[in-house]
């Protein structure tokens, strides 16, 4: 665990307490089984905002606490532990983009509302089943003193409920994020029901007219925005891996077969010990990425790819082992193992597979 200051310790403890007391996995199950398109509990999100977690990376001048990404990661980790269905991750990533590249007027218009929890924001990047920001074909064409946006974004997280999109598109010979309010008439959303029971949507932008300042920076901003999103999702995955592991170890201690807890079998002990080691590595990698953002370090790209690749591999292992080590009951919907497994694979795909990030890591290191 990173060395936390007093504020961060308090924040983490608060988040942990709230998730453990108010957001057991049955809360996620209730959201899943309700089957609404928006896919989260509004009351719970209001509470998240009241506790200030929607503003952790937002500058104080715009209603946030400006604690930074390590702090935001602490909250995401705790939410991840119990699979809390919340648009906090997507909204924080969107706020991060605005805080990095938004004009003073845009920041003043949107950041307080994102920080206040009134507005759900999200990044709309990919156009196919795999994360590939180089392959973006959406275009923002110059039109008078503004732009006209055309394109289709797939599997946009919280795409059904988002009030604000940050859309990656090609414009002026480069890629850039565009600030697009969700109530524009030329936007259509199509829900995508996925295995994780959360909100995802295909979002079409058909001739959306945007002012000139809708363009946030340009090419130079693309990777920093995505690396923030990658680091945040890796933090959520860290919480999932930690809880999936602890639940599994508890089961090894309590499930009795052959007259003893199955955790007495050395073959299973070694698998638990291996997972423990992998999760420790995962924590270091994830915290390093969040700290790199806060410190403004120039090796963020490499560090974020490290974090996401390690997070993917580790959560993949832990979620697979969670099912197998639970045996038959791990296959049932009644137990939680399947919920972690399904959410794990969706997040492994979000913002880049392990292969994508290994390739990027190698490129960044010149081989």
């Amino acid at each position: 665990m990173a060395v936390l200051n007093e504020e961060q310790t308090m924040l983490r403890d608060m988040a942990r307490e709230w998730v453990q007391n108010e957001q057991p996995i049955t809360a996620f199950r209730a959201v899943r089984d309700a089957g609404t398109a928006e896919g989260y509990d509004r009351d719970a999100y209001r509470t998240v905002a009241e506790m200030g977690w929607t503003g952790v990376i937002v500058p104080e001048a715009h209603g946030g606490s400006q604690f930074g990404y390590l702090s935001a990661g602490l909250v995401m980790e705790e939410l991840g532990r119990n699979l809390v269905a919340s648009p906090l991750g997507a909204t924080t990533a969107a706020a991060g983009a605005l805080a990095l590249g938004g004009s003073e007027a845009q920041q003043a218009a949107w950041l307080p509302r994102l920080a206040g929890g009134e507005v759900v924001g999200t990044l709309a990047v990919d156009e196919g089943p795999h994360h590939d920001p180089d392959k973006v074909e959406a275009t923002a064409a110059r039109d008078g003193d503004g732009y006209v946006l055309n394109g289709t974004k797939s599997f946009v997280p919280e795409g059904d409920s988002a009030h604000l999109f940050l859309v990656l598109a090609r414009a002026d010979g480069e890629r850039a994020f565009f600030l697009v309010p969700g109530d524009a008439a030329a936007i259509t959303r199509a829900r995508r029901k996925m295995a994780d029971g959360r909100s995802h949507a295909e979002v079409r932008f058909e001739g959306v007219r945007l002012p000139a300042d809708a363009k946030l920076g340009g090419e130079a901003l693309v990777d920093p925005v995505l690396d923030r999103a990658r680091s945040l999702v890796a933090a959520e995955m860290l919480g999932m891996a930690g809880q999936a592991f602890e639940t599994t170890v508890d089961y090894l201690k309590t499930r009795v077969q052959f007259g003893q807890p199955i955790g007495a079998f050395q073959a299973l002990q070694h698998r638990a010990a291996k997972m423990f080691a992998e999760i420790e590595l995962m924590r270091s990698a994830v915290e390093a990425a969040l700290e790199a953002i806060d410190a403004g370090r120039s090796d963020l790209a490499e560090t974020a790819s490290l974090a996401k690749a390690v997070a993917n591999e580790t959560l993949n292992l832990v979620s697979r082992e969670m099912v197998q080590l639970h045996g038959g009951v791990g296959m049932t919907d009644e137990y939680d193992a399947g919920l972690y497994l399904k959410r794990a694979r969706v997040l492994e795909n979000q913002w880049g597979s392990a292969g994508f990030h290994r390739d990027r890591f190698a490129k960044l290191n010149g081989y």
């Binding site: 089943p129 007259g259 050395q266």
Partner: protein, 410 residues
């Protein structure tokens, strides 16, 4: 140089092949070409069409759904070589075998071995005709890998047994007509206190609750027995002698499960190779190489393992046929088969990305949705029928002769 006897056999097989072709021509409805019922065990029996019913009746009467079972009980009475010819001819025209399920794969062979004449006359013919569905009553909540810890009681009440207790993972329990169960008939001994009992699922006191799986399907159930009366003649083998019969049946289960992927392939599932899928979802370079080099290497590694597995299946079959005795390789089939099946499913969803994680509704093809469910369902393969861990224990103990860590451990 082929012997005269082998040549004669070949001629006999040729004439048998001709007979099979003629019979299939006359009896297999062309509308069923390429259709199979592989998912019936997972999704439950579908309402059969008129052609499906006719085909089931025809092959059931002929006994060719269970080609090697004795003719006197409704089987085909064929030798291995003839059965292989029948299989080849059916595959050639895309004819599936509608006679299946646990009765064929597990219970039938066991009853033929251990049952009384009356039990065989009663139960085998309806299995041959596909009329009766059997389910397995083995596992209990506290008796999974440690199956011999089972507690479901069958008390001797003179002319009948009185059964009380709970079974779980009753495959197809909600659709089954009969259940073959392991029950406790002596509480003072562990393995030697277990009997093999046949229970009519329509008996008063039998209650079945489907179990919802992570894949959304409910192929299994919890089965509760409350004061269920079972006639004495439904005991198979000696009283308290059920454990060895039950284990023999598990061997049938494991050998039929090691085929893995084909028996759990959902209707409408993806039948393209992983390489073809990867080209579709990820693109390829000018020379046809999958553009994601790492994924390409992973697919090749998997395909090589799958190939080595199928070569091993073939070698084991040849060794048996060559009278070299059962191959040592058979002990690894369940685990390697499970791994190959699960690796393939994980690779399929990895290749498809978010499209491989759809649950239902718009935006996904039927094949994509089937791939998600197949991936989740496949997680059971390394758990059921003796988990991977239990299989490894068996290899370590029985094949390698490694000692136990302490008395009573697996």
């Amino acid at each position: 140089m082929a012997s005269a006897a082998a040549i004669r056999d070949d001629q006999d097989l040729d004439s048998f092949r001709a007979e099979v072709r003629e019979w299939l021509e006359a009896n297999f409805p062309a509308s069923l070409r390429g259709k199979d019922n592989a998912m019936a065990t997972i999704e439950g029996p579908a309402q059969p069409s008129a052609d499906e019913l006719a085909w089931q009746r025809a092959i059931g009467e002929k006994g060719w759904g269970v080609p090697t079972w004795p003719k006197q009980y409704g089987g085909g009475g064929l030798g291995r070589a003839e059965a292989r010819v029948l299989g080849e001819e059916m595959a050639r025209i895309g004819a599936h075998n509608p006679i299946g399920g646990m009765g064929v794969m597990m219970f039938g062979p066991t009853l033929l071995e251990y049952g009384t004449e009356a039990q065989k006359q009663q139960h085998i013919p309806p299995i041959c005709r596909g009329e009766i569905r059997w389910c397995q009553g083995y596992s209990e909540p506290n008796a999974g890998s440690d199956l011999a810890a089972l507690q479901c009681r069958a008390e001797d009440r003179g002319d009948h047994f009185l059964v009380n207790g709970q079974k779980t993972w009753t495959s197809g329990g909600q659709w089954a007509d009969w259940c073959f169960a392991l029950v406790r008939t002596d509480t003072t001994r562990k393995h030697e206190g277990i009997s093999f009992l046949l229970i009519d699922m329509k008996s008063p006191g039998v209650e079945v609750k489907p179990i919802r799986l992570i894949s959304g399907q409910s192929p299994f159930a919890e089965t509760f027995f409350t004061d269920v009366q079972v006639p004495k003649e439904n005991l198979v083998g000696p009283l308290n002698g059920g454990w060895s019969i039950g284990k023999r049946l598990l061997q049938h289960e494991r050998s039929s499960l090691s085929g893995g992927s084909s028996s759990t392939r959902p209707r409408g599932a993806e039948d393209r190779s992983l390489g073809e899928l990867a080209k579709h979802y990820l693109g390829a370079d000018a020379e046809g190489r999958v553009s994601d080099g790492e994924l390409r290497a992973k697919i090749a590694r998997h395909e090589m393992e799958a190939r080595a597995f199928s070569l091993t299946l073939r070698r084991a079959a040849l060794e048996v046929r060559g009278n070299q005795g059962p191959s040592a390789a058979t002990s690894i089939m369940k685990n390697v088969g499970a791994k190959v099946t699960q690796d393939r499913a994980e690779l399929a969803i990895e290749v498809m990305g978010m499209n491989g994680l759809g649950w239902e509704g718009e935006g996904f093809s039927d094949k994509e949705l089937a791939t998600t469910r197949q991936w989740l369902w496949g997680k059971a393969v390394s758990i059921y029928g003796g988990s991977t861990e239990i299989q490894n224990n068996i290899v370590a103990k029985r094949i390698l002769g490694l000692p136990d860590p302490k008395p009573g451990a697996a």
